[in-house]
Structure formats: structure tokens, C-alpha cells
């Protein structure tokens, strides 16, 4: 599987490492050189410095033939806008993005995107441990 990961966050870097270790072809994009250093020294995938809404850069990272794109920078806007570009321009079959704002997540789901929201996970987890909000 060919996967593009936008944002070399802890989540992005870990996913890149696990997936490439499992033999998948991975490209990682992040505007910050320091963030890209989170990847292991022997990381076998491709690494690009830049932003996810740069269409040229996405094409260079193989967006035309990618099976999946995962947008997990620390900014909701970067993730959601990149996800939408990946779908509308490159028709990548599987696009997953992170949004911390639950309502933005909901709005973009309504536009047909696959969004996960760590805030909602956190709320559900804590409330579950407490046995509910009551």
C-alpha cells in the first residue's frame, strides 16, 4: 500500500515507522525540518519538507497513485483542508484526518470526509471510566 502522511507529529511519525516497517511505501510531508527528525535514521520512505495543500508537492509525493493519505499535523485547518484537496484533486481512495474541534470534525464529516477527533475520544474515555456524566 502507498501512503502519504501529512504532519510528522508523534502520531504521524509513529504511523510512518510502523507502516514502513510492515513493508508499505510511505511519504511523509511536514513544513518543519525538526519534526522530520522524529523519524528513525533508517526510515526507508520518502521525506518532503512543505505543506499539505501544495498541489505540486503532493503530486511529487505520489498523490496520483497513493492508496491512502493521513493528515495529522497539529492544526485542524491544515489537516482538514489537505484532506479535502487529496479527495477532490487526487481522488485518493482512503483519506483520514485529525480534527481537535469536535464541531469542525462533524462539519467536515458532513462534507464526506473521514475525520477522527481525539477530543471526543478523550471525553468518552474519561466519562466511561467515571461511569458516565451523572
Amino acid at each position: 500500500m502507498k501512503v502519504i502522511i501529512i504532519g510528522c507529529s508523534r502520531l504521524g511519525a509513529t504511523l510512518a515507522t510502523i507502516l514502513s516497517g510492515a513493508g508499505h511505501e510511505i511519504s511523509v510531508i511536514d513544513p518543519k525540518a525538526e519534526a522530520l527528525e522524529r523519524l528513525p535514521h533508517d526510515f526507508p520512505g520518502q521525506v518532503f519538507q512543505g505543506v499539505g495543500i501544495d498541489l505540486e508537492l503532493l503530486a511529487k509525493a505520489g498523490a496520483d497513485t497513493a492508496d491512502a493519505l493521513i493528515a495529522v499535523t497539529d492544526r485542524d485547518s491544515a489537516n482538514l483542508v489537505t484532506a479535502q484537496v487529496a479527495m477532490e484533486k487526487f481522488h485518493i481512495p482512503r483519506v483520514i484526518a485529525r480534527a481537535y474541534d469536535p464541531r469542525a470534525a462533524e462539519a467536515y464529516r458532513a462534507m464526506g470526509l473521514d475525520i477522527f477527533c481525539p477530543t471526543t475520544f478523550g471525553i468518552d474515555y474519561v466519562l466511561g471510566r467515571l461511569g458516565g456524566a451523572e
Binding site: D54, S77, V81, V85, E88, K89, R103, A104, A107
Partner: protein
Amino acid sequence: MYVVVAGGGKIGFNLTRTLLDGGQEVLLIEKDLRRFRWLEDHLGQVVLHGDATEVATLEEAGVKRADVVAAVTGFDEDNIMICRLAQNVFDVKRVIGRVNNPQNEDAFRLLGINNIINSTRLIYRLVLQEVDACGLIPLLTLKGGKVEFVETVLLPESPAANVAVKDLILPEQCLLMAILREEELIFPRGDVVLLPGDRVIAAARDDEVEALRLALLGSA
């Protein structure tokens, strides 16, 4: 008219002040607390502290009843997202997005934000109009870049000089619109003969602009 401006940098601040001077109802949204306080000191109670990429902030700003939302922050992703939320969640008809990095302009258009301000490109156009580089000067574009209005000055050696408009061989998808000859405005009907020094204004489909340039000015 109610206008919501997102991003209180130099552009957002001056836009808000100008709209207020023009008697419009405006609300400016600024994320940074220190900047927000400064803006409030200078503009009064028309500034909201919050992150305009959050749905709750837009709701608080009353974006639902806004006639126009202008997203002019320093981040292109934020500007696109603010425009999209305004359109999709709040049903705002007119959104305007500022393009900071010209390379991102395609992403704005791709996602349906056609009203964009790209200051780099605007200044580039003005520079071209000054230097009159080689031939056609872009004046403005319509339909998201599909139609271009261009201007050129004919030289004595231009193939179109001393030729009647009806005898010009022009690309299919273009139209000569006006000729400025010194102080005179001439409409290019068939029997008008183009002269060296004429300033010709034409509209063309973007992929025919080069053919139009060749027809008017030749390969020089």
C-alpha cells in the same frame, strides 16, 4: 450589510476600520490575546477574541447572518477552512479568502473559493504594467482564470500593425474590445485599421492568450 473579518493583522485591521468608516456593520475575529487587546483599544467593541477556524467562534460572531465573510489571516489553510465553514455550516453566500503563498491559489479554487485576494499576484501585475515586458499585459481574469483580459501596444513591426480588423487572423476564442489611440477610444469594428502605437485591449480564453499574442505581435 454585516461583514465578518477573520484575522486582525494589518490587512484585517485596516479592512475593518475602512468598513466601519463606510458605515458598515463589522465584526473582527482575532486569535492572539495581546493583538486582540490592541485591536479593541483602536477599534472599540467590534472585535471578538477567538479562533475563527472553530465552529463555536463563528457561531458567536453571528456568521449565520453575515452577508460577507472575509478570511484574511496569515495562514492559507485557516483562510480556506474559515471560508468552507462559513459556506457549508452557516450558508454564507459570499466568502473572500486571502492567499498568502501564491502557490496555494490552486487549492483555494479547487475547494470552491473563487473570490480570492492574492496580493503577490496583484503587485506582480502592476509591475508588469510598468515594465511592459514582452507583449501582453494581463489586466484581469474572470471565471477563475479561464477568461483573461489583456492589453498590448502595437509596434511598427507588429504583424497586426496597418491591418484592418476584419483582415486579422485571430484565434477562435478571443475578441478585440477597444483601441486606445492617443486620447481617443476606438471600437474595433471590421474596417478599423490598427496602427503602430495603438493600445489594444482584448479578451481571450486562457489557453488562447499565447495565440493572440502571436497574431498581434508576432514571435518577437
